[in-house]
Symmetry: C2
Subunit: 344 residues, 2 copies
C-alpha cells in the first residue's frame, strides 16, 4: 500500500494567556490514500481550505464541560475546512465530492461525519473558500444570530463589534438590507474604511482610538442602541449596556476580547439589564444548522447577483496557518481569515 507524506499543524501544549505561534508546530507523517481496513462511516479528505475562527482559542486551553472539546496536545489542530473526498465508507459522501465541515489542520484527514458536522457542497460556481465563511459556519452564525436571536424591527439601531470579521461583516449587511441603521466597530483605520466604503455600514469607528467607549457609542447612537451583536465582550459590552435602549436585545455570539485573558474582565453594568428590560441571549450555530438549506437559498442569489460583499484574508500554505491563527487574535486579518493549502 502506497503512502504519501501528510504535513500537519499540531498543538504542542495547552495554552494560558495569549497564544504564540510557538505553541503550535508542524510535522510530517505518512498516510494511505484510501480507507482500506478502516471502520465504516469514515471519509478520507484532501483538505483545500482551513478556517481560522475565534472560538478555536478556547479549544487551545484545557477546559472541562465546555460545549466543545479541547484540542489534544501533540495532535493536529481541528477546525472547519473545505476538502475533496478521496475515499468514503459513509453513504452520504462519495469519492470526488467536495465537502465542508470539521477537519484537521493537515493535508489529508479522515473524518467521521455526524449530523450537521459535514455538508456536501452542491454549488461550485462560487469560490470554494466561501464555504469556510459566508456559505459555512460564519454565514450561518450571522444569519441565525441576526434574524433568529435579535428579533429585529425595521428602523432599529444596530451596533456590531468586530464588525469586519467573518460574522460581523455579514450581520451588518443583513441588518442594512432589513432596514436598520448599522454602526460597527473594528480595530484599525483600514477596517473602518472597509465598513463604510465597501460593506455599506452607516458608520464605523476604531475602538482603539476611543478613550471613552461610552461617549463614543453615545456619539454614534444619540438615540440609543436597540440591538447589539456581541462579538467581543469586556469593556465594550459594559459601554454598550449604558447605551442600550429599553427592551433592547443583545445577541451574544462571542467574546473574543476575553479569550486570551487568564481572568475575564468583569461586566460592571449588568444592572442595566434589569432597568432597561434587556434580553441578552447567547447562541451557538450548531443549534441552527437544520436551517442551512433555507439560508443557502437566501444567500446564494445575493452572492451571484453581487448584492452582498464578502471580504476574505487568505494566506497560502499550511505552514502559515499558525501565524494566521495568532493574527486573528491580534486583529491582524482584514476580513475572514482563511488558509489555502496549496497542492504540491
Amino acid at each position: 500500500m502506497e503512502e504519501v507524506e501528510n504535513k500537519q499543524v499540531i498543538l504542542k501544549h495547552y495554552v494560558k494567556g495569549f497564544p504564540k505561534e510557538s505553541d503550535m508546530g508542524t510535522r510530517t507523517t505518512k498516510t494511505k490514500l484510501n480507507l482500506e481496513g478502516s471502520s465504516s462511516g469514515q471519509v478520507l479528505v484532501k483538505n483545500l481550505y482551513l478556517s481560522c475562527d475565534p472560538y478555536m482559542r478556547n479549544r487551545m486551553s484545557k477546559t472541562e464541560g465546555s460545549y466543545i472539546d479541547s484540542f489534544t496536545p501533540d495532535s493536529p489542530i481541528g477546525g472547519y475546512g473545505v476538502g475533496k473526498v478521496l475515499d468514503s465508507t459513509h453513504p452520504d459522501f462519495q469519492k470526488g465530492d467536495l465537502i465542508w465541515g470539521f477537519t484537521g489542520w493537515e493535508e489529508y484527514s479522515i473524518v467521521s461525519p455526524a449530523q450537521f458536522s459535514h455538508f456536501k457542497i452542491e454549488h461550485t460556481d462560487v469560490p470554494l473558500s466561501y464555504y469556510t465563511g459566508i456559505l459555512g459556519m460564519p454565514g450561518m452564525t450571522a444569519y441565525a444570530g441576526f434574524f433568529k436571536v435579535c428579533s429585529p424591527k425595521k428602523g432599529e439601531k444596530v451596533f456590531i463589534s468586530a464588525a469586519s470579521g467573518a460574522v460581523g461583516q455579514l450581520v451588518g449587511q443583513f441588518a442594512k438590507s432589513f432596514g436598520c441603521y448599522v454602526v460597527g466597530s473594528a480595530g484599525s483605520k483600514e477596517k473602518v474604511d472597509l465598513l463604510k466604503s465597501k460593506l455599506g455600514f452607516d458608520d464605523a469607528f476604531n475602538y482603539k482610538e476611543e478613550q471613552d467607549l461610552v461617549a463614543a457609542l453615545k456619539r454614534y447612537f444619540p438615540e440609543g442602541i436597540d440591538i447589539y451583536f456581541e462579538n467581543v465582550g469586556g469593556k465594550m459590552l459594559d459601554a454598550v449596556l449604558l447605551n442600550m435602549n429599553n427592551h433592547g436585545r443583545i445577541a451574544a455570539c462571542g467574546m473574543i476580547s476575553q479569550y486570551n485573558r487568564e481572568e475575564p474582565e468583569g461586566a460592571q453594568n449588568l444592572f442595566c439589564v434589569v432597568t432597561k428590560r434587556i434580553r441578552m441571549e447567547g447562541f451557538l450555530v450548531f443549534d441552527y444548522y437544520d436551517q442551512y438549506p433555507e439560508f443557502l437559498e437566501m444567500i446564494l442569489p445575493l452572492i451571484r447577483e453581487g448584492k452582498i460583499t464578502y471580504i476574505e484574508d487568505i494566506v497560502e500554505g499550511l505552514e502559515n496557518a499558525p501565524s494566521a491563527l495568532i493574527g486573528l487574535f491580534l486583529g491582524r486579518n482584514v476580513g475572514k481569515q482563511v488558509v489555502a493549502i496549496t497542492s504540491v
Copy 2:
C-alpha cells in the same frame, strides 16, 4: 380651613454606599383634609401601610436617565402603599375607597393617579397589608417574572436568590405548584428554615455560610439549573452562570447585593451565556400591570383557600420606617417588610 399634623419621613440628602437611618429624618408639617382649591385628577389619601422594597435604594442616590426618578432631598420618601381615600377629584377614585399604589412616607398624601400607578382595592376579605406584597407590586412581579419571563417547563430545576423576600417566596411557590424542583438561598438560618418548612421549597441554604457558592450550587443542583430567578446579582450570579444548564433562562428581577456598592462587582462568567445559550432577560413589573386582573383571579382563591403561604414582617409606626428600610438592605427582615402607620 382646619389643618391636621402630617408626620413625614424625608430623605435628608443623596446617599453613596450603604445607607444609614440618619440619611433619613422625620418632620411634621400641616395638611388640609380635603382637596379644595387643588387641581383636578388628584386624590387625598390617608396612608395605612407602606412598603419597603429593594428598588428604593436606587432612588436614594442621584441617578440620571434611570427608569424611575431619584427621590428629592428634603422631601418625603416615596414608595408603594395602601391608603384610604379622604377626598378625590379623580373620576376613578371616591371618598372612602381603599387603594394601593405610589404614595409618600407620611400620614397623608396627595397623589395624582396615572395609568397603572394606583389600583382600587375591591377585595377586603384578605389583610389590607397584602396589597403592598402578594396582592401588589411584589406579587405581580413574581407572577410576571416566573410565568412570562422564565418560560418554565414542568420538571425544570429552579433556583431563587433572596428567596424568603416578598418576591422570592412567591416565585418559589409558583414554581413548586407548576411542577418544578425549587431551591432558594437566603441570609439566615431562620429564613432557610422558613423556606423548607413553611414555604414548601425542596431545599434551601444560607449563602453566608457557604465558602464556595459554585460548589454549594453544584451540591443542590447536581443536574444543573434550568431557571434562575435573579434578585441579588454579584458573586451569586457568577456562581449560577457556572451551574446553568444549556438553554437556561435567567429572569433578572433585581441585584440587591450591588445597590449599596459604589462600584459594582463585575460578572466574570458571562461567556457562559454564549456557550450555554443562556437567555438572560431583565424585566420591570410596570410592563405587566395590564395583566393585574388576571393575576388577582389566580391568586385570590389560593389565599382564601390557604393554598399559598405569605410571610410578612410588619413594623408599627411611621417613625420606625427608616430603620425598617435599612433593615431590608441588611437582610434583617423575615418576609415582606411592611410599615403599618398606626392611627392616632
